[in-house]
Symmetry: C2
Subunit: 686 residues, 2 copies
Amino acid sequence: MLHHKLINPKSIAVIGASNNIHTPGGRVLKNLIDHNFKGKLVAVNPKETTVQNIKCFKNVSEIPNVDVAIIAITAKFTLETVQVLCREKNTKGFIIFSAGFSEKDAEGKKLEQQLVVEINKVGGTLLGPNNIGLINQNYAGVFTTPIPKLDAKGVDFISGSGATAVFIIETAKQTGLTFSSVYSVGNSAQIGVEEVLQHLDETFNSKTSSKVKLLYIESIENPQKLLKHATSLIQKGCKIAAIKAGSSSAGSRAASSHTGALVSSDVAVDALFKKAGIVRCYGRNELVTIASIFMNTELTGKNIAIITHAGGPAVMLTDALSKNGLNVPIIEGKESIELLEQLYEGSSVSNPIDFLATGNANQLSTIIDYCEHKFDNIDAMVVIFGSPGLFEVYDAYNVIDEKMRTCKKPIYAVLPSVVNVINEIDDFIAKGNRCFPDEVLFGEALGTIFNTPKPLKTTHSNFKVDEIKIRKIIKNAKNGYLEPQQVQALLTASKIPIVQQVICKTKQECIAEIEKIGFPAVMKVVGPIHKSDVGGIILNITSEEKMIVSFDTIMKIKGATSVLIQPMKKGIELFVGAKKESNFGHLVLCGLGGIYIEILKDMKASLVPVSKEESKTMIQQLKSYKIIQGIRNQEGVNELLFSEIIEKISNLVTIAPEIIELDLNPLLGNSKEIMAVDARIKIEKN
Amino acid sequence: MLHHKLINPKSIAVIGASNNIHTPGGRVLKNLIDHNFKGKLVAVNPKETTVQNIKCFKNVSEIPNVDVAIIAITAKFTLETVQVLCREKNTKGFIIFSAGFSEKDAEGKKLEQQLVVEINKVGGTLLGPNNIGLINQNYAGVFTTPIPKLDAKGVDFISGSGATAVFIIETAKQTGLTFSSVYSVGNSAQIGVEEVLQHLDETFNSKTSSKVKLLYIESIENPQKLLKHATSLIQKGCKIAAIKAGSSSAGSRAASSHTGALVSSDVAVDALFKKAGIVRCYGRNELVTIASIFMNTELTGKNIAIITHAGGPAVMLTDALSKNGLNVPIIEGKESIELLEQLYEGSSVSNPIDFLATGNANQLSTIIDYCEHKFDNIDAMVVIFGSPGLFEVYDAYNVIDEKMRTCKKPIYAVLPSVVNVINEIDDFIAKGNRCFPDEVLFGEALGTIFNTPKPLKTTHSNFKVDEIKIRKIIKNAKNGYLEPQQVQALLTASKIPIVQQVICKTKQECIAEIEKIGFPAVMKVVGPIHKSDVGGIILNITSEEKMIVSFDTIMKIKGATSVLIQPMKKGIELFVGAKKESNFGHLVLCGLGGIYIEILKDMKASLVPVSKEESKTMIQQLKSYKIIQGIRNQEGVNELLFSEIIEKISNLVTIAPEIIELDLNPLLGNSKEIMAVDARIKIEKN
């Protein structure tokens, strides 16, 4: 948890304070004064006695005790300053704007670590260094502008980049989004995005805390912490939207050059966000739009009424919603006719509800009432209302404002006339509302929220695996790819069906063993990893004679040590895999095998542990799901068995985290059984 | 062509002029006066003698001759007014704001048609009715605000919706986009979007005309006209971006309710835009962003340098560009080290080029010079430069302004600080530049442009088809699905290889005919259309005995009239189809057969005529293209033969436009040959 004195200080010292408000030390003091910090302010600057009418001390050792220090001096002087504050001034909160630490070089990193050691000793909290600071309802501890409109129910925003935080705050002005707090973590020396989120989770109060959290992340250092607290907050009723920048490999390079961020696989980020229920965003405008939607009453259905006096934007919004799986249902029946009679001739109520350019505020009010009370197939309303500039539209916007406060169904205001009626829009926002200038960007954001599922239950798996056996196999195995017998033993211990197989070193063994297997059979090379690439798989062996020829062929392959014989099975090719993804832990993947995975990349991934519900959803979200269900009278795949295998693989890698790569490829499945016919497992022990 | 007097009138009458500027007739007069119309203005209003200091006549019959009439009176009075203007006042340009015409009811439609007849008689031009008017550099003939910044090199914008035009003009303020003209076509009684585009094409002057055209379309009434003039303008060096609203089926319903627009298939719209080279947009923000990019020097490569003093947006932009196939290449080598030495410690030049929050205008200038002159692997630059609010940034923006005017490589300015440095942004725009507030929306728009290919050559097909035979078959055929013999004859006449086939009504015929075919063979039912659904296809018939059993099985199917026997062929299943899409003409489609087309919907479509180049591109853009190329040592499909079949189908439907549906499904292909093994053709003669 962040120290409570950092959050709500009784006194703040600005170290490096200045009368020059074009410097960080000058501007932060101005911000603190202008935004009514109610506690005691002191300044430190060797050259001044007062700064901006605040008493100024030559040296930090001269100041009275302070709860928070905001430090805006050259990096090399920060350590001694922090030491004095920690040891002599009982300071617990530290915000260090200064650059020149770990983002610069090894020496800077060392200095940064020394600061952390010092602050840790007294149980203090450090934001930064190399950040823009902290804004909350108690104080504006940043050196940047603008200070956003603050509001206890506004969003809590945590940013891994100071400049980006500024630009996001600037973007937010357009929709009227307000903030409860803004945390800039800079180099995250002690406190990163994850730790602030933990703090927000641990101090969450369902009555007083903001329900919307926004994150801008360049590097996820502690995925499990992020997952834990995001999940917890969402379970408490919060909504979280986040940008994880660096989603492309080129983008990750950019992230590395910026903050020394590590590359983390984007698939793992997606899986983490999905597991927690975080809505993933890719840009500032999108983040702010989604946050502004979050501030509204929650959308509980997919049926949207579009209410407008201008047809074009309604058509474009309908397109955007439909593409995202939302619905603009036809409105019909007695009550729709009743409504139509109250509108001007030429209006349409079939949805979009178009009450024409001449439509007035009273009609708007009536339409909203019908959508709220009479049209049962409507879950939410979007009102698009601009102006050609002929007259003021305060009356219409006042109707929207009033209805947004009184209706149970969510109402979203798209106000496109950002030139003609900017005063009305400002007034609408000043009343505490949010609005959207572009219907399509709004529609896409609503779609993104709609398509981010609520986190699934993560019930504990019921499958009992032979943990002792699994640990024993791993203990005895060497690093690298396991032998076929080890693979078979691990899968068997995990209750994963694998096609019966025998391994033979001689023709005599083959002849002796084939009875167990029966014809037709498949023979595979043992030794080389990529069997099919070296011609090491022979299918449909129907006689002893063919078996012997096949044996000779396979044993000629370079690296062949023996052959593996299996019965020839039929079914749809499936794929299940697992991969350890650095600090995220394991991902389990599933899909159809063959070209589906190789060419079409149709697969879904989840972070371990994968619950029953998650594994089922993974399967159902595959593009090729219809093939699993069975198309055109073709037999499909038993979904329950498929999902169980995913769950069992999740159990296996949990017990054997040394597994860094695992492929069941293919499994062959039909409506009755699924069996692994080929498997590879690679382990790495420390 | 639009009458030249409408474009450049010497005199304008406002019918329904008013002193009340909150009415259309009042506001349009104010706009004309405020925006310096240089010709003569007269007003008509039975109650006034002067309106806004302009001489006012009681009746239109009293006014002197005028080139243009702008009419803002009740619909029912428009016809007599237009008659007087046409017959007595030599008026050639008509803008009718009034509503209550075809968009209202049948009576309104009749009145609208009478207006057109009247205006046609004198060779005049009508914009509207039910529109907002026309703005060009000669006059501001609209009743709406804002009047955008006008500029001969700004965009020409044609809108099918007046309100949407207003909102787009308002959106354009943000980027600094300027306009050369704005045409609102309203109900398109005489002149629609297509006709205005034709006018812009036919009057295009490479020295004086704007090179950027924007369209907002709700209904494409004349696709071939749109295609012709868009293609022509693009060949003359123009760029065109367009929204076709109503792309979803729900959206089309919305379009219908709005302007009585007809549903036109969205696939056909895509195909038309692709053929012409129009960049398709889906929202106002996107349209304006793309137009603002168009106004810049053309991007000729895919390698982008990102230059910034704030890392976060650079990372997000890198992600957005990479996802869209653009490249943010690593910059390295001697010259990059040289550049790095001129920047502050901690900067990065590896791309993104991050010259830190402390970076200054001189450094920015140096970086741009290096990208322009020394980094050969860079085709364009994006400068992201905001401000935390500490000081003004005129110096940096002046550098960007100067470099945009002097550099050969395109430079795009992303200026995110729309609050902190709005004055600097306004100044930058006032100098004639465009900028972008959000790097990701910019990046996506640049990607959309990059991914819209230039129109392909439409060389005339070299394949000689037997036109006489084709016409004879069609002449003798009845409406509906053709008989198998007719299908075979049509394909043969079109030089499309089809598997040999015989049709037999008795077992004896089967026995007699099988010699031509040989075993293994396939037997299919003749009669039912969906053969496989009724069990009407039996594969792999290897003997006379099996053939006779199969015959009995198939002839028991309801509706079976005979059987069709073909040799059993192997190969990859392909699909080629054609469909007549209302007024767009024919579309030809291609893809892989089976689940690829049915489940994965992996297909490409082109408007007929499909050239050699287009058909090749269609194949190469399939998601499953790698399978056609041949994967993992599997034999692929001969692409040339595949593309020739597409071209031949295009030829066939050109000669036989009565074909409304055609399916070659499947064709079986390998590296040597491709043959249709099943085909359906449906015709409809008027």
